[in-house]
Amino acid sequence: MAGGKFFGGVHPEYNKDLAAARAIEAMPLAARLVVHFAQNLGAAPKPVVKKGDAVKKGQIIAEPQGFISVPIHAPTSGTVQSIDIFPHPVGADMQAAVIIPDGKDEWADGCNVERDASRFDAEAIKQIVRDAGLVGMGGAAFPTHVKLSPPKEKPIDLLIINGAECEPYLTSDHRLMLEKPAQILEGASYFAKVLGVNNVSVAIEKNKPDAIEAMRKAAEKLGIAVRGLDVVYPQGAERQLIFALVGRTVPAGALPMDVGVLVQNVGTSFAAYEAIRFARPLIERVVCVTGRGIVNPRNVLVRIGTTFGDVITYCGGQQPDAGKVIGGGPMMGVAQYSLEASVTKGTSGIVVLKQEEVAQFVGEACIRCGRCVRACPMRLNPSVLGIFAERLRFDDAGEHHVLDCIECGCCAYVCPSRRPMVHQFRRAKAEVRRKAAKAS
């Protein structure tokens, strides 16, 4: 069962001290919310509101389409001003509803009621999790109820609550573990109940000793183990986390459930607690607003749909020499071109860098030094894959397992030729998937 250090990885500057000491504070309601409809991996939910509709806080404004999809709820009460195209922090312009809050912040019927969760069985919990619109809040935004529904032939014997937060700068999970440890563990207990799992572990990188301490204190009586992990990026990636914790290797193309493990983020566990105990759908989340380009780095609880511009203004605005705004962390996040981009369920952070910290470079030819090969936690050969992608040889890239790339960015981070490999792999993955879809 013993784990160890996973292969590869890098040690970027963590810069977590910028916001780590700032307690989570709730941001006042913005004057205007831009709520995206596509907030989960899988099928985008279909809008069920139109311009001019009045909505209540927690009311469904988009219905899920199919199994791998969750509803979207109005983050406050107000009026739908318009439905239009807005920049989405994942790097695309997508359809969103503009909601003008009426200031009353009035819940829809049936929401925000404390209830006795012990009466819910596994199926009921899964249904609540889906109806509350829960997705993985570490960034990938995969619907939680789907993860909670492994096929019968793949029993789960270990539930890992992921508090690694290996992405540099970000401290939202860190603060949540310090301030809401009991609630996170209660949320986790519902996941464990659905899966029929007794073995629950909380995994936290050792650079957050206070969070380990807080979680241990809360976990003691529950018989839940809290484990400290080596500080290496990408420790919080599912496969790397599982290997580090219990030494199981998730095969290429397989999922954690194939080795009997399920991983849930601490933020998702907290959201599950809110949904199951208080019937509160996922309409707000903790966002770490940080970086040297922001005047007051801090962790804020914001409503889904609050624009980056409003969040940044609340945190004192940008420094005069700010040069780049990133949705998510600096390793896997996406640079934003507009502050009209709004917080989604997967937005764990907003990082603003100073101009002098923003490296501008032109990728050059691969010198075959092999640093990326040693850094790749998926044991791929990014050097060769990058060359295939560059020459549009996507079939070859597919044969060399480009689809296993988790886009963690370690290869590009260590590359002395500054090759934009992750960008190329994203293209190659899209091409390989397109071709596979065409063939089937």
Binding site: D93, V334, A335, Y337, H423, R426, R427
Partner: protein, 279 residues
């Protein structure tokens, strides 16, 4: 010395006899026309016909599964040669087509939304917010079409738009397929009037982000012959079945519609002056 000569000659004789017998016994019956047709085809294996190469097209034509004028590169001349081989008559009437970029928004007239510093390839750049250009329909200017052109007919201009050399273009369609914005079309070489825009945005938005975009005013639709230009979702689109007089270009307030000679006939400069706009 003599023994060696005799031995080798005998060996050669026996081997050649053996080869001749094997060739006869295991002969693969083939349609002689296939080879002839393949000889008539250009042999560039460009894939413009939609098949893997000239050999495959030759087989299909010989089997009657493809039309004799299926090769866009060879055009009428090759079609006539294949008609002779196949013993068919070919009426002609095939108008040569060339690739044409339906966007006039170069770096001087079209606004950009952000500074892009990633992979120099249009399809890759489109992954990030659909590209740096404010217009989501316009040319991204990173030269993916130039890269895929097997005939060196496409060149990126310093202004940020590609230019097609009609003489070299064979209408193979590689650039048409490669363009992530789908704004390259194959147009008949003898038509002169083109609308250099693909934007379906409303006029008010177009005016803000591009100085030469179609604003959907419908002036050209009214000026041209009936049915020659149609509005499709805020964009004027030319129906190339019509011959449209050059004068129609003059009514466009945005200089989006332009008279351009692709086959070298006519005077482009004069027309531009008449249209009242510098390009």
């Amino acid at each position: 010395m003599l023994t060696a000569v005799i031995a080798l000659s005998a060996l050669a004789l026996v081997s050649s006899l053996l080869l001749a017998m094997v060739a006869r016994a295991f002969a693969v019956p083939s349609n002689p026309k296939v080879e002839e047709i393949e000889g008539a085809l250009p042999g560039a294996n460009c894939g413009g016909c939609g098949l893997p190469g000239c050999g495959e097209l030759a087989r299909r034509i010989a089997d009657g599964k493809a039309d004799i004028d299926s090769c866009p590169v060879g055009g009428e001349r090759v079609a006539q040669m294949i008609a002779l081989i196949m013993g068919k008559s070919y009426a002609g009437g095939l108008v040569r087509k060339v690739a044409f970029i339906l966007c006039g928004g170069d770096d001087q007239v079209a606004a950009k939304r952000f500074y892009y510093n990633g992979v120099r390839d249009c399809t890759s750049a489109a992954i990030l917010f659909g590209g740096d250009k404010a217009c989501q329909y316009g040319c991204m200017g990173l030269g993916t079409c130039e890269g895929v052109c097997p005939f060196d007919a496409m060149h990126m201009l310093p202004t940020g738009l590609p230019e097609v050399e009609p003489v070299k273009c064979t209408a193979c369609g590689k650039c048409v397929a490669a363009c992530p914005k789908h704004i390259i079309k194959l147009v008949p070489v003898d038509k002169r009037l083109h609308i250099l825009c693909s934007s379906h945005d409303r006029g008010a938005k177009v005016r803000k982000i591009c100085a030469v975009g179609c604003i959907g005013c419908t002036k050209c639709v009214k000026e041209g012959p009936e049915g020659a230009i149609a509005m499709q979702n805020n964009l004027a689109v030319v129906n190339y079945d019509f011959d449209i007089p050059d004068t129609v270009a003059a009514v466009c307030p945005m200089n989006t519609i332009r008279a351009i000679s692709l086959d070298g006939s006519g005077d482009n400069a004069g027309v531009k002056a008449a249209a009242g706009g510098g390009v």
